[in-house]
């Protein structure tokens, strides 16, 4: 840090701009992007087959009419929580350390929400009429059915996606203008020029920019809480034992931030190494993120405990049967894996040495990612598999196409991410400068 204080700010931003404006791409990028594209191709095949034959290519059945698609949706949307949380909530509570990671995590949020948003449409029996879920004037004179949580989902997710996109793009504008000014080629200047919407960096621009940025941050903060609350209502509003629970909204929000931060760590650790951005993604960042993982992990653990407690406290035959099935029935191996991944392993984060050991932290984050996917899998399928009528009970399992779609969605996510780090500044340059200026000023006054 001390070294960076002495060098000119422009040198720092130069290092952020360098990967964008340079000619050619590094080998690791080309290989990574090619792999991502290959996975994306797999995704497209899976989706094409899905659209041709119907959702019957998946493992869903009666009674488990929701499966991988909904699990993936909830998981991706959960990941999409970290970005907004870092950008908006941490901005509002003046956590300056967020500055160098917020741009990247916002992008991650957007791409995760894009993946998440696909799944509810893919999972429809007739995806070509998905727009019937939108309230729009039509010749059928039909409104959607406003009592359905799925409709609330549509509003919640689309609002979240819109606000996240605006927030992300707004933050990009000054940096795009900077790129426009530094770009060596005419075509780059034109593209960045158009994208920067005529930003000149004058003081009036900055004043309006900051007001709007703060406003959007406030709005996004509310959405961080609302989106996963509403997603959880998909389950909580139903009468399915194991879903019908009032603990779901806070429990889902905590789980979302938990998994979102895990994904941020999973991505930032390799990025830091590949770009040599140790000065931006400092150990302090990872230490703080480790703490957040620990806190949200504890909340999630508390959620598990309370869910189990209320099941038995309710005295309800169906709820108890469901919980018994998870604790010691056929879902026990999965359930206890979840406890291990999401409750036991994160306890290591109590130790600062582990939080600052990037390999260790990275491994813990991956374990949490897997654990959170499994958690959603157990919630969705175990409850449906065995609800009220034993005559309808059946075991669920995913098919080849279920896995292909899940793995393929990583292809979409990673392709977007690779494009992003190659074409746009992955770190907010103007905020870095701002922070440095602020520090410099503080140094002067002191």
């Amino acid at each position: 840090m001390s070294a960076s204080n002495t060098e000119p700010i422009s040198a720092k931003t130069g290092r952020i701009m360098q990967p964008i404006l340079r000619k050619g791409s590094p080998a690791w990028w080309l290989m990574g992007f090619a792999t991502a594209l290959l996975m994306l191709f797999g995704f497209n095949v899976a989706v094409a087959v899905l659209f041709y034959y119907g959702v019957g290519i998946w493992g869903i059945r009666i009674p488990t009419a929701w499966g991988f698609a909904i699990v993936n949706f909830v998981w991706w949307i959960g990941i999409g929580h970290a970005g907004t949380f870092i950008s908006a909530v941490l901005l509002l509570v003046h956590q300056e350390w967020r500055t160098s990671i917020n741009r990247f995590t916002e992008a991650m949020t957007l791409f995760a929400v894009a993946c998440a948003g696909l799944f509810p449409i893919l999972h429809l029996g007739r995806p070509w009429v998905f727009y019937w879920l939108l309230p729009y004037p039509n010749s059928m004179e039909m409104w959607p059915q406003f009592r359905s949580p799925l409709l609330w989902d549509v509003f919640a997710v689309s609002t979240y996606a819109t606000v996240s996109l605006l927030f992300w793009y707004l933050g990009l504008i000054p940096d795009l203008a900077a790129l426009r000014d530094r770009a060596p080629h005419r075509w780059q200047q034109i593209i960045f020029g158009v994208m920067s919407l005529g930003w000149r960096g004058c003081i009036r621009h900055w004043a309006r920019y900051q007001k709007l940025y703060l406003l959007l941050a406030g709005l996004a903060t509310a959405l961080v809480v609302s989106v996963h609350s509403i997603v959880s209502l998909d389950f909580a509003v139903s009468i399915v034992p194991g879903w019908h629970s009032s603990i779901f909204p806070p429990y889902f929000v905590a789980g979302a931030i938990f998994s979102g931060f895990a994904m941020v760590v999973t991505l930032l650790v390799p990025l830091r190494r590949l770009y040599g951005w140790e000065e931006f993604f400092t150990l302090r960042h990872f230490d703080n993120m480790g703490k957040i993982l620990l806190v949200t992990g504890l909340i999630v653990g508390h959620g598990y405990l309370m869910e189990t407690f209320t099941s038995f406290y309710s005295g309800d035959l169906f709820e108890m049967a469901m919980m018994k099935k998870r604790l010691m029935g056929e879902f026990a191996p999965l359930y206890w894996t979840i406890i291990f991944c999401n409750v036991t392993v994160p306890q290591l984060l109590w130790f600062g040495r582990i939080r600052r050991n990037l390999i260790g932290l990275w491994l813990i984050a991956i374990v949490i990612n897997i654990g959170m996917w499994l958690e959603r899998y157990v919630i969705v399928t175990s409850s449906l598999e065995k609800d009220y009528l034993p005559s309808a009970w059946r075991t669920y399992y995913g098919t080849f196409w279920d896995w292909a779609t899940l793995i393929g969605s990583f292809g979409l996510f990673l392709s977007l991410l690779f494009l992003f780090i190659r074409l746009l500044p992955a770190i907010s340059m103007h905020e870095i400068s701002e922070e440095a200026h602020g520090k410099a000023k503080k140094g002067e006054t002191a």
Binding site: N44, V47, A48, F51, Y52, Y53, G54, V55, G56, I57, G59, I60, R61, I62, P63, T64, A65, W66, L118, L122, H123, L124, G125, R126, P127, W128, V129, F130, W132, L133, M142, W143, P144, Q145, R147, S148, P149, L150, L151, V154, D234, V237, S238, I239, V240, L317, F318, A321, L384, K386, D387, Y388, L389, P390, S391, A392, W393, R394, T395
Partner: protein
């Protein structure tokens, strides 16, 4: 994503195929497009007639229901009757005459046959053999008589792999039977008169006060629906049947010998003796001569002849020379020069020791008349395609003597020939059409020829022939005099070996229904297995052999062996394995080929029903078994109420909620009708008739084994089956489940596009066009009655099968949810009828398909706003309950509890205070 949506759009815009529509130049009489016609006729199911009423839309038969005027149908229809419609339009049915397997023509056959016939005329028919199923049709028998008159050397044999004994001669009057004992007899399912027996049986079990109830005892090795219905079901392995029958007879004669294998025998004998003349004992078709003899002796002893045991119907006309066993000898001696086989498939279903296929290969000219290509027709020089019963004239005689005429509903789709037309070809110089042949028979029965036309039309209209009573002058009973010392054939140490038992399968019977998708996908009543048969094991035997469901074992019997997957059936006897017949067809259509295992390979002519197994070995492989229900216990849930006739509960009944539970939503207000369905679990015998009737009425697709394995069967009504008590001898219960049409339906609130709606008569309607397929409704349905088109199951309905479809019911496309509608199309049809006649619509105007088919009258549809309707009255009965009432969904489909009438001497009422956990 954009590309994905564009792709979806392409898929979504499907236009109907362009077709030319040609109007009638001459409007056929009585044919109003859109208004179905109904005709009474008779079709033959498994060789025996069923009186039916066929719905015909614009000339196409679209639904088969029972004929209320036929005494053996009484308006109900069993699974095979209704499913027979599917065969009519089956694209796989034989469509032309085949010569050595390649297409030929009827004319070519006629020419060849005429010269053949001329040859035989010279020799009086020596070397000409005829093999048919047992024939009951007056015209068929008349033509056989003519053949035998014209060609006296012709030999006629009959073959039926199932009804090869004379067991069907017994006839019972269950209406006057107070105590029934059935030994290995599934009389509620597998007899030609089962529909009438179910009706008579359940009529004696409906009163609320327990008066005039009958009591059923069943001793059997493998659970059947009759055993499930029994008040006392005793698990007895087939090795012990002879001894049991002897002990029972001895006990009835007063020589009670205590045998700890049957501690219940004395109580049973007391009950039977107490109801002398009002009791009945019966043995199934697999019973040995000894058992049959003992049972009839017991009936004689008890004085049941003439009261509950009815006189046999004398057989008329020519008698066959014998059965397949008798035909084998002349075939092996190469005396058979021409063999004509009508509607039989001995290459598949003959006992394996006959080696019938090899014998058939030695016959110079073999002619097979069959509806489908089969194992036999493939080996014949000529194959004649048969007409469906709905395409041909004919007549039949039921096992109770009821005569009826079969009239065609549609011209033969592929110019198939009926049995009588083939017989006419053999019997007569100039073969005549079926219409003339049938009429000729009946003209002879009328004294005054001038009244014939009127009578004929009346018979056709009613579907039953009314002739002056021709009761046999001397009542004869299928009885033997009581014998004091019958000889048992069973060895005393019989339990040392494991026996293999054969039985006709519940859906495929002897294998003739193999290409019928509805029947292949029909779950077995007990095992809920579809698309397969399996070796049925008792839980103890499975534990002993260390096998579990789906494990393949090799069964060695008499030097033959087959590999069979096993299935554990609670309540199955130890020391025996049951293997249903009728599966494993090698030559059938696209649907029926290679489904299940062929049990006939192990059957030998001297042991048609039970045979000791030499060895069983585990193969180590497994075979997936597609079952529609995988969990058999109620897990302590309040789903099915069982009580004794004296109203003491058999299952723990939770206290009913005192006041209506609170609801977030206001109650719906109804101005007109409030439709409801009442299902009487007490009457239901679990025969599955409702499932197939619903499938036919509502255009429900067949999805195939791989989809059933995924739990995607589409049947709108299902019959749940639960076991209660210990697995060796559980009490079994059936529960038909339709859509509950909940008042506060959980499915309605969660649909984001309002595709499932509450209508103003309380139906929970499904708007297919609006459905986007989120499947949330199914998740939120506690009864899991919703069915989803996971794939485009209706995509490839063959052209001919489209004629079958009910024009009033939408064909569902892929990606939409569907479920029981209470046959809303029938409600609307009745409403239109009432409007036209300017009268109010009543609940009794409407009969749902399941209700119409139900032989036990367990399902009743009606209007709750009419306080006198049966559904309203049922709701006030003591045993009335709604499933999962505590969820406050307020179902419109409700149940009347199941009642049992156990013998207090065997199950003292005190045990009822400790109801068994379920």
């Amino acid at each position: 994503m954009g590309a994905s949506i564009a792709l979806a759009g392409l898929n979504g815009c499907m236009r109907p195929p362009e077709q030319k529509i040609v109007p009638y130049t001459q409007q056929p009489e009585k044919l109003v497009p859109g208004r179905p016609l109904h005709y009474a006729t008779t079709i033959r199911i498994n060789g025996h007639p069923r009186g039916v009423v066929v719905t015909q839309n614009e000339g196409r038969p679209t639904h088969i229901a029972g004929n209320p005027l036929h005494p053996l149908s009484l308006g109900a229809a069993d699974v095979w009757t209704t499913a027979s419609l599917l065969d009519l339009y089956d694209p796989d049915r034989l469509q032309s005459v085949l010569r050595q397997g390649s297409a030929s023509s009827w004319e070519a056959f006629e020419q060849v046959f005429a010269s053949l016939r001329d040859e035989f005329l010279k020799s009086g028919g020596a070397g000409f053999y005829l093999l048919t199923p047992p024939l009951y049709s007056p015209t068929e028998l008349r033509l056989i008589g003519r053949i035998l008159a014209a060609l006296p050397q012709v030999r006629w044999y009959v073959h039926d792999p199932i009804d090869s004994t004379t067991a069907l001669e017994d006839r019972f009057d269950l209406a006057s039977a107070d105590v029934i004992f059935a030994l290995e007899s599934d009389f509620l399912y597998d007899r030609p008169d089962s529909l009438a027996l179910i009706r008579a049986f359940s009529k004696r079990r409906v009163t609320d006060d327990g008066k005039s109830w009958n009591r059923l005892y069943v001793a059997e090795s493998c659970p059947t629906i009759t055993g499930v219905k029994a008040d006392h079901r005793f698990v007895v392995p087939p090795q012990e049947f002879d001894e049991l029958a002897a002990a029972l007879l001895a006990s009835l004669q007063g020589n009670s010998a205590k045998d700890n294998r049957w501690p219940w025998l004395d109580a049973l004998t007391d009950d039977l003796r107490h109801h002398s003349g009002r009791s009945i004992l019966m043995a199934g078709r697999s019973a040995s001569d000894f058992v049959r003899h003992a049972i009839s002796s017991a009936n004689t002893l008890l004085g049941n002849a003439g009261t509950t045991l009815l006189p046999t119907v004398p057989s008329e006309g020519p008698q066959p020379q014998g059965t397949l066993a008798d035909l084998v000898l002349p075939m092996s001696r190469r005396e058979v020069r021409t063999l004509v086989m009508l509607g039989v498939n001995p290459v598949f279903d003959a006992a394996s020791d006959f080696s019938f296929a090899e014998l058939l290969a030695q016959v110079p000219t073999s002619i097979c008349h069959t509806f489908y290509t089969n194992e036999t027709s493939q080996k014949c020089s000529w194959t004649i395609h048969a007409a469906h019963d709905l395409e041909a004239w004919g007549d039949t005689k039921s096992c109770d003597g009821t005569l009826s005429i079969a009239q065609p509903l549609i011209a033969p789709l592929y110019d198939g020939k009926s049995t009588i037309e083939i017989l006419s070809l053999i019997a007569e110089e100039v073969p005549r059409p079926g219409y003339d042949l049938a009429r000729e028979t009946w003209q002879q029965t009328v004294r005054d020829p001038s009244t014939f036309e009127a009578e004929w039309h009346r018979w056709l209209r009613d579907g039953v022939v009314h002739l002056p009573s021709t009761a046999p002058s001397t009542a004869s009973f299928a009885l033997q005099p009581p014998s004091s010392s019958p000889k048992s054939t069973a060895s005393t140490n019989s339990l040392q070996s494991i026996w293999l038992c054969f039985r006709p399968s519940a859906a495929q019977w002897d294998g003739r229904h193999a290409n019928n998708g509805w029947l292949q996908e029909l779950p077995d009543p007990i095992t809920k297995l579809t698309w397969d048969n399996a070796a049925l094991f008792s839980p103890a035997s499975a534990t002993l052999l260390k096998v579990k469901d789906g494990d393949v074992v090799t069964l060695h019997v008499n030097g033959f062996k087959i590999d069979a997957p096993i299935l554990v059936v609670p309540g199955h006897a130890d020391h025996c394995i049951t293997l249903p017949l009728g599966y494993g067809r090698i030559v059938s259509g696209q649907i029926g080929t290679s489904v299940g295992i062929n049990a006939y390979l192990l059957r030998s002519s001297d042991a048609l029903w039970h045979i000791p197994i030499d060895d069983i070995e585990r193969k180590g492989s497994t075979h997936p078994l597609a079952r529609t229900q995988e969990h058999f216990r109620m897990e302590g849930r309040d789903l099915l109420h069982v009580a004794r006739v004296d109203n003491s509960p058999e299952t723990p009944a939770p206290p009913a909620p005192e006041q209506p539970l609170p609801s977030l939503y206001p109650d719906f207000k109804y101005e007109g009708h409030k439709w409801a369905l009442s299902i009487n679990l007490n009457s239901c015998v679990g025969c599955n008739a409702c499932i197939i009737a619903c499938q036919s009425e509502n255009n429900i697709p067949v999805v195939g084994k791989d989809q059933v394995l995924f739990g995607r069967e589409m049947q709108w009504i299902r019959v749940d089956r639960y076991f209660q008590g210990d697995a060796d001898s559980p009490r079994t219960h059936f529960q038909p489940v339709t859509c509950m049409q909940c008042e506060d339906a959980p499915c309605e609130v969660v649909c984001p596009v309002a595709a499932t709606q509450h209508d103003d008569e309380g139906l929970n309607t499904m708007v297919y066009n609006r459905c986007v397929g989120t499947r949330y409704c199914s998740n939120n349905c506690p009864y899991k009655v919703r069915r989803f088109n996971f794939l485009f199951y209706n995509a490839d309905i063959p052209e001919s099968q489209r004629l079958r479809l009910n024009p009033n019911v939408t064909i569902r496309s892929r990606g939409v949810m569907e479920k029981c509608t209470y046959c809303v199309q029938r409600i609307e049809e009745a409403r239109i009828g009432a409007l036209r006649e300017h009268r109010p619509l009543k609940g009794t105007d409407i009969t749902t398909a399941c209700q119409a088919a139900c032989p036990a009258e367990a399902i009743v549809f009606g209007d709750l706003s009419d306080p006198d309707s049966i559904v309203s009255r049922n709701r006030k009965k003591p045993g009335h309950y709604a499933m999962l009432e505590e969820l406050n969904t307020k179902p419109r489909t409700t149940y009347l509890e199941k009642r049992i009438n156990p013998n207090p001497a065997l199950e003292p009422p005190s045990s009822a205070s400790n109801p068994q956990p379920i």
